[in-house]
């Protein structure tokens, strides 16, 4: 059994996979990686199934000791990783020799970096998923963020390996998958509760991600958006990426640890193809919204999935 010793956890590091779908009727939201595209690619780099559990680091990464030989990859934002003081490339599989230490630091780009390990991180599954749901303290490693001294088990799903072959993600694909600051949205279920002028102002405006944002919701600051309802309605099921307008007029984008239902009107909904971009937004980042037709949203998702499925995505 291979292990990882957490020498320093970083700001907020959790075990995540692609989440648990299907438990809306009992009030459990999927959780899962905030930037699932990076998680999926990182897992492919180390030879795992796309949805294997990995470590999601937030803004400032941690330090991890590997007592045994392992293969790892870092995907997502550049946290300035080094292996025994030698810089490590992003988006590349890396062989770790027994006793080596992987260090990461503050981010140089976006909000999250995934540390994927061949075999995946092994934790007790909660409702079929390894994902941590921080708010409810369920899933992942004891339902919480990692702490100094934690010891993680590496799974055996990757099998044993003899020879290590380095793989990297091709540059043109990474360029196409770059996180966006102009988020494409489709109209929300209550978009007609907002006056035309309000909607125009929303799409023309620039919003800043507030410090209080977390995996449950991304809170935005900027020109308040007022709805004709005064911000209240009957609670209904809410969708990932929904842009809900609170009573004070400030938007909150529902994120991976979202409530399953909510009582604020939704002016827009981030398209599926741009959900991973949400996971890379940092506090104080400025974003804008761009309205697209449903057909466009569908085509963008299909194109993204096609790109992710290409064999040439990773080259040796």
């Amino acid at each position: 059994m291979s292990l990882i010793e957490v020498q320093s956890p970083g700001l907020l590091t959790t075990v995540q996979d692609l989440g648990r779908e299907g438990f809306g009727p009992v009030g459990v939201s999927p959780s899962g990686a905030a930037d699932p595209i990076s998680l999926r690619i990182g897992n492919r780099l180390v030879g795992n199934a796309e949805g294997a559990a990995a470590l999601e680091m937030t803004l400032v990464g941690g330090t991890f000791l590997f007592p045994e030989r392992s293969v790892v990859a870092l995907a997502g934002s550049d946290f300035g990783a080094s292996l025994d003081d030698v810089a490590v490339d992003m988006w590349t599989s890396v062989e770790v020799c027994s006793g080596q230490t992987l260090r990461t630091g503050p981010t140089r780009t976006g909000a999250r970096c995934y540390l994927c390990v061949r075999g995946g991180i092994e934790v007790k599954l909660f409702l079929g998923s390894a994902s941590t749901h921080l708010l409810s303290g369920l899933g992942g490693f004891d339902g919480r963020a990692l702490q100094k001294g934690d010891v993680l088990r590496i799974g055996t799903a990757g099998g044993t390996f003899r020879t290590f072959r380095k793989g990297s993600v091709v540059g043109w694909a990474l360029k196409q998958l770059l996180p966006r600051k102009i988020l494409r949205v489709t109209a929300g279920p209550q978009s007609d509760w907002f006056y035309e002028a309000t909607r125009k102002a929303f799409y023309a405006g620039t919003y800043r991600l507030a410090e209080e944002s977390n995996r449950m919701g991304l809170r935005l600051q900027g020109t308040p958006v007022t709805s004709s309802s005064g911000g209240e309605m009957i609670s209904e099921g809410v969708s990932l990426g929904a842009v809900q307008i609170t009573a004070g007029g400030l938007p909150i984008i529902l994120f991976v640890e979202q409530q399953t239902t909510g009582g604020y009107p939704k002016i827009a909904n981030v398209i599926s193809a741009d959900l991973s971009s949400l996971g890379q937004l940092r506090p104080r980042d400025e974003i804008q919204f761009e309205l697209v037709e449903m057909e466009v949203a569908r085509a963008l998702l299909a194109a993204q999935e096609k790109l992710l499925a290409t064999k040439e995505l990773i080259v040796e």
């Binding site: 299907g22 009727p25 009030g27 369920l138 006056y195 009957i234 099921g237 809410v238 990932l240 409530q259």
Partner: protein
């Protein structure tokens, strides 16, 4: 019934006649969720659980509506709508589980119900009257949402209806029994929350390793039974 696109991977089904489209800009009146709409949500949810539609990934029931999340690469909104129409036609004959009556012991007031005094004062009644009003009613589980195992129960007696706290507590202990407007509910886990807290139950509302994860299910009836602090401690120890 009305369909509403919610996102590129979700569709809302409204059963509430008040939520008809084409009305002037503005929300439907809040009090218009009929019992029939609630029943229809329950039936459609049940049928979708019994006969899942390929490509449907999640279901979010609420008062008079159901949000259906699906794989956008496998299903289109119009295809899903057509399938759902056939489900709605058939759902009358779905056998619903017999609603259970669940009794929830609650220790009212004191450290367990920090807002009880204020709520009673607000309505110019005694603490005993407030407890009596909350505990004498039979509530219906409308749906589960917000957090794992959090059941929205209604309706609280009009004389006791109280708005949420102006600013939510950072942490509400698990088991806390609160009210918000004419809704009442039990916090299954410790979370931030803005409901006014009247008491606390020693029961575990949500337990992942239990056969029935959530103590309450859609359609159940609930009654709160006042208990003394000594009983609370005894029951809490028994659950540990």
């Amino acid at each position: 019934m009305r369909f509403q696109v919610a996102s590129d991977q979700s569709l809302l089904v409204y059963f509430d006649p008040a939520a008809k489209k084409g009305e002037a800009e503005g929300p439907p009146p809040k009090e218009q969720i009929t019992l029939e709409a609630r029943e229809q949500v329950r039936r459609l949810l049940r049928l979708l659980e019994l006969e899942p539609i390929v490509g449907v990934r999640n279901l979010h029931p609420a008062y008079g509506s159901l949000l259906i999340k699906f794989d956008a690469l496998k299903l289109r909104h119009d295809e899903l709508e057509n399938l759902l129409r056939t489900y709605v036609e058939r759902m009358r004959s779905v056998a619903l589980p017999e609603p259970r009556l669940v009794e929830i012991p609650v220790c009212y007031g004191g450290e367990y119900g920090p807002d009880l005094n204020e709520v009673a004062e607000l309505h110019q009644m005694t603490v005993e009257q407030a407890i009596e009003l909350h505990a004498s009613a039979r509530y219906l589980v409308y749906f589960l949402g917000f957090a794992p195992g959090f059941a929205y129960l209604g309706d609280v007696d009009e004389q006791l209806a109280t708005p949420r706290l102006p600013s939510p507590r950072k942490s509400v202990p698990a088991g806390s029994v609160g009210i918000a407007g004419r809704q009442t509910g039990v916090y299954p886990i410790s979370t931030p929350g803005g409901w006014r807290l009247l008491g606390r139950t020693p029961l575990k509302m949500f337990q992942p390793d239990r056969a029935q994860m959530s103590l309450l299910a859609l359609g159940d009836r609930v009654r709160f039974v006042p208990i003394a602090p000594q009983q609370f401690v005894k029951l809490a120890l028994g659950n540990a």
